[in-house]
């Protein structure tokens, strides 16, 4: 990267994430004056306009791409209309050791004096919590599921190509046309639609005004800028900001700035999960790149520099913190804005172009935690691009993640998308599939599958809270077969899915009524045509997702019960339940037997994999295809982010030998340490999950640096990925084993039994080596680390 990008990157990394009260104060003042004077969509649009007009703006030294959500880089605003932080929250955020946020005194003061007094009891979160029934709260508090929208607005959404072809002028014209076409006499919802369209019109103008303010600032700065080179840049910035987002971008620079203004619009209007994502940025920028190179107005280096400037922008935006934070909660600054490289085009052709390679270089050189880059690997993706990707993977950043582009299309087709919309889609957030620019796919919460088993084994009683949460499905001591146990588990599962789905219906309806997002609606097809908000079902496709967590733990636990209790009869059910109740205290031999002598998912073992298929199938059957309140249906993802740790803390000992309180299995990875036959066996087991029935799964795999050495190592890593995708896998992400991992394996061998180390033709399980040899490998890994 050049000096400019290096400097911006350095400053971004050095700045401490800090909280600003500016947005909260503007919003509070606005609501005090305007609440009750407008319909809700118009009120929200005017609030957005107020922010665009009055929030502090900045152009930082050396920047080419401009605009921040907060008043300065790394400064995040809060969204009191959704959730209002307490003074305790602010104190803890400032002082907690991990992912802390600086909270200046004036913020604390503003919250105590103005923001909290106005918003307490009026936030959307307050209304959600008030509205949800007792049974929902009980399950939520027991750790059966979480709810995304109690903290942030529906989001997880991604831009498609239309913002590169049409400016706000074009969107506004579409809004006007849709408004003119309303038939008040025939359409009972016409009045409502008109208000929504009026709101979009206001939002479009507000976004243009926001850019215009940057143009004015750039002009003012240029007037006093002593350095002629920078002065030129500022003049150009002003020109770019007058062009976009008002009109369609004309060149590479304007295209990037266009995206960034749209991004800022979406994340200023509301605090949607996962911010907003550029999606297929390589495909969108390619025409601008080619034209610029062809007419000599752009060089490869300049293009790379502009992309570097954009990447730093993402890194400048830590995720706004949650409310109700605890000192122990680490969370993450990452807001999961995703860039999807490669993939396929609308007509199914390979999506790789010059900008794809350019982006790979930027990803490698900047290696920031944000944005989150991934590669959508299709059958038509050139092998060369995959290998170049694997070379970046080898660096050990943990990304780019790899996705099966053809599998994503299959998933989207299954959920009713047209083939063109499916190809223009991809994945966002962690692994979730969506039709970019045309779908509101809302993640509604994680679902704790092992907790369901714990409840089943206790006849619906939660041992932690001693509350009867689930139906009485029978005392397992009386079960005569594994089939009875599994039927009881399925019944408990259905009960809690029902509670979750009913809760979602209320929450999604509340967002539709109280928290429309007119700016996001403007750039999401077909909100304008339908005259309907993104949060109400205005998008072409409207999906709700529930995320299953702990499939490895629940599979291994069911397998252990079937083996030990019903097949070998080596441990009576009562005995097992007592051992679980006592967290295996004094029962180490039983625990070891459950850990080591029962089938485990991740070993290409038909018995264990069959149980996974049953459990997964029951989960999908309970959820997939159910209608939501936005005119779409439900789907499942199999991913935990970090929720397997929280769920683990809420779940007692499990029959797979896991101690109570410890993390559950992660994503669709096997239980930590359970896979003993290497990566191909893991991939075979994982591919026995019918991933086409999901809307995204997450598989993490550890690889030791030794096995990906040289061109041959890269080729074999590429082979591994291709084969997994041929088998139907959705996503794989490699963590190159670090010295830290090896040290952890040395300290906790049980959690790392499957960790293989390879040196020149010989391999062994790390945990089985002598201390001396382990130390030698650690030293070697230190040496090999890139």
């Amino acid at each position: 990267m050049n000096a400019r990008v290096a400097g911006l990157r350095e400053r971004s990394l050095a700045a401490r994430p800090t909280i600003s009260a500016e947005r909260s104060l503007i919003l509070t003042r606005f609501y005090q004056e305007h609440l009750g004077r407008h319909t809700t969509p118009v009120l929200r649009a005017l609030a957005f306009r107020e922010l665009c007009e009055h929030k502090t703006i900045t152009i930082e030294p050396g920047e080419l791409i401009v605009g921040e959500r907060g008043p300065a880089p790394k400064v995040t605003p809060l969204f009191p209309e959704l959730t209002c932080h307490s003074t305790d929250d602010l104190r803890i955020l400032d002082s907690r050791p991990l992912t802390s946020y600086g909270v200046p005194d004036d913020v604390r003061q503003a919250y105590a004096d103005v923001v909290i007094p106005y918003w307490r009891g009026r936030t959307l979160r307050d209304r959600i919590m008030e509205m949800l029934p007792r049974e929902w709260h009980d399950a939520y508090e027991a750790g059966v599921f979480t709810e995304f929208m109690e903290q942030r607005a529906p989001g997880h959404t991604v831009a498609d190509g239309k913002i590169y072809a049409k400016g706000m002028d074009g969107f506004a014209a579409d809004v006007d046309a849709a408004t003119a076409a309303l038939d008040v006499a025939q359409d009972p919802l016409a009045g409502r639609r008109r208000e929504e369209l009026a709101a979009m019109r206001i939002a479009a103008a507000a976004a243009v005004r926001f850019a215009e303010r940057h143009a004015e600032l750039a002009d003012a700065m240029a007037a006093t800028e002593p350095d002629p080179v920078r002065r030129e840049e500022l003049v150009r910035i002003a020109e770019v900001c007058r062009r976009v987002p008002a009109s369609a971008p004309r060149d590479f620079w304007e295209a990037i700035q266009m995206y960034w203004f749209c991004h800022l619009g979406v994340i200023t209007e509301l605090n949607g999960w996962d911010a907003y994502s550029p999606g297929h940025l390589d495909q969108h920028l390619e025409p601008f790149y080619r034209a610029g190179i062809a007419d000599g107005t752009l060089t490869r280096e300049r293009a790379k520099e502009l992309l570097g400037c954009l990447f730093v922008k993402f890194n400048n935006h830590p995720a706004p913190p949650k409310v109700g934070v605890t000192a122990a909660e680490s969370g993450t600054y990452t807001d999961f804005a995703g860039i999807d490289l490669a993939g396929v085009r609308r007509d199914g052709a390979d999506g790789v172009g010059d900008v794809s390679y350019l982006l790979l270089e930027v990803i490698d050189e900047l290696h920031l935690v944000q944005p989150s880059p991934n590669v959508q690997l299709s059958r038509v993706t050139p092998e060369h691009f995959l290998r170049e990707t694997c070379k970046v993977v080898r660096k050990g950043y943990g990304y780019p993640a790899l996705f099966n582009a053809d599998g994503v299309v299959t998933q989207l087709l299954r959920k009713g998308k047209s083939v063109e919309d499916a190809r223009e889609g991809g994945t966002s957030g962690c692994v979730e599939t969506g039709a970019f620019g045309k779908e509101a796919y809302i993640l509604t919460g994680y679902f704790n599958l092992p907790k369901i088993l714990e409840l089943t084994l206790n006849d619906g009683l939660d041992p932690r809270t001693r509350r009867q949460l689930g139906p009485r499905t029978g005392d397992p001591r009386a079960f005569g077969s594994y089939g009875e146990l599994f039927a009881a588990w399925t019944a408990q599962l259905g009960h809690f899915v029902e509670i979750k789905v009913r809760g979602n219906a209320l929450i999604e309806r509340l967002y539709a009524d109280a928290m429309p997002a007119p700016f996001l609606s403007l750039i999401t097809s077909d909100c304008i045509a339908k005259g309907m908000d993104y949060n109400e079902g205005g998008a072409r496709y409207n999906t709700s997702y529930i995320q299953g967590v702990g499939i490895g733990t629940v599979t291994d636990s069911l397998a252990a019960i079937r083996t030990a209790v019903f097949e070998e009869r080596s441990a009576p059910m009562g005995d097992l339940l007592d051992a679980l109740a006592g967290d295996f205290e004094g029962r180490d031999a039983l625990r070891q037997r459950l850990v080591n002598r029962a089938p485990k998912w991740g070993n290409d073992d038909a018995a264990a994999d069959g149980i996974m298929q049953d459990a997964f199938g029951a989960f999908v059957d309970a959820i997939d295809g159910r209608p939501n309140v936005r005119g779409g249906t439900y789907g499942v993802n199999m991913l935990p982010t970090t929720c397997h740790v929280y769920f683990g803390s809420m779940t007692g000992a499990t029959p797979d030998g896991r101690h109570g309180g410890t993390p559950l299995s992660e994503g669709i990875s096997p239980t930590q340490g359970a896979d003993r036959l290497g990566p191909t066996a893991v991939l075979r087991s994982a591919s026995r999950m019918d991933q086409a029935r999901t809307c995204g799964t997450l598989l993490n795999m550890k690889v030791s640096p030794g096995i990906i050495e040289g061109d041959e190592g890269i080729a074999k890593l590429a082979n591994l990925v291709r084969t997994y995708f041929r088998l139907g896998g959705h996503h794989i992400q490699f963590n190159v084993v670090s010295v830290k991992t090896l040290l952890a394996a040395q300290a906790h061998p049980d959690a790392h039994r499957g960790l293989i180390v390879r040196v020149a033709g010989y391999s062994d399980y790390f945990c089985d080596l002598s201390r001396e040899l382990q130390d030698e490998i650690i030293a070697r890994t230190e040496h090999e680390a890139v």
Partner: protein
């Protein structure tokens, strides 16, 4: 046992491991089948569990929780928790391994039918397809169970897998000729080129090994030479030159893999209750590996480091 009940010769083999995702035993992603039993006793052997042509008990001391289940299960009462087997009392019956809750005890070497083996090999066939990989038979010395080996090679080939044989070459000439008919590739060890030293370090003569290599080469077999590089044993220039000279004199074999010795195997000896004869030998330094490569390259050979 009545003769009629005995399986046909070679219907089963003594297999001690089937290792998936093998990256260093031939092209692509492979599954390596380890056949138990070896006529050689190489001083640097890194597969000590492969030597004995009979089932053996292996003990992972670090996994033991001292629950005494092994002692209780042992028909002779001689199993000791966490300790390697005592060859004087251990029958290698596997009773203790079946009882051990932590899998600290493992019986290695089991009679495996060709059918069962080939079914196991099928598990990774999509990975072979994608990577140009296949199956490698190693050991031990796989030629020692040549009847089984030929059947297994033919059965694997019938499923379309690329099949390789990793061998010391120490066998009767007609054996290796028969195996060559069923194999796509040989990974062929050349260790020490001085006959006396060869006998001292491996326990067997060199002559049949060189003869068989010439035979394979002349018959057009696809052969990759493997040279384990063991400091102080075979890394001297004279030996390297002798290897280079010999291979350069072959008709079509040109590819040589230098395999740097590594001490990782010492843990394996401990698990079997064996003394590692090579504990004090260091791994070769990078400069020594480079030097060995340079010597071999000077004979016009296609030299690779590692499997």
């Amino acid at each position: 046992m009545a003769i009629s009940q005995r399986a046909a010769p070679g219907a089963t083999g003594l297999v001690f491991d089937v290792q998936r995702y093998s990256l260093h035993d031939g092209p692509g992603i492979r599954t390596t089948v380890f056949l138990k039993g070896c006529p050689l006793r190489c001083a640097w052997c890194h597969n000590p569990e492969s030597m004995n042509a009979a089932p053996e008990l292996r003990v992972f001391g670090s996994r033991c929780i001292r629950c005494e289940a092994c002692r209780a299960a042992c028909p002779l009462g001689g199993a000791r928790p966490g300790e390697p087997p005592d060859p004087r009392v251990c029958l290698a019956c596997g009773s203790c391994a079946g009882a051990c809750p932590t899998r600290a005890r493992e019986l290695i070497g089991r009679a495996t039918t060709v059918e069962a083996l080939v079914d196991a090999l099928a598990a990774d066939s999509p990975f072979y397809d994608e990577s140009g990989g296949g199956v490698t038979f190693s050991g031990g010395e796989p030629l020692r169970q040549w009847r089984f080996l030929v059947r297994a090679l033919e059965a694997a080939r019938a499923r379309g897998y690329h099949v390789a044989v990793d061998t010391s070459g120490y066998a009767a000439e007609r054996t290796i000729v028969r195996v060559a008919e069923a194999a796509d590739l040989f990974l062929y060890d050349l260790k020490v080129m001085d006959p006396a030293r060869h006998r001292r370090f491996t326990g067997v003569g060199l002559e049949p090994i060189l003869r068989n290599l010439r035979t394979l080469d002349e018959r057009g077999a696809n052969v990759w030479i493997r040279l384990p590089l063991v400091p102080g044993h075979n890394d001297d220039t004279a030996n390297l030159q002798a290897v280079g000279r010999f291979v350069a004199g072959l008709r079509r074999t040109r590819r040589v893999h230098v395999l740097p010795y590594h001490r990782l195997a010492s843990a394996k000896y401990e698990r079997l209750g064996l003394v590692n004869p090579m504990v004090e030998i260091p791994s070769p330094a990078a400069a020594d590996i480079d030097r060995a490569v340079a010597v071999l390259v000077s004979y016009g050979l296609d030299v690779h480091v590692g499997g």
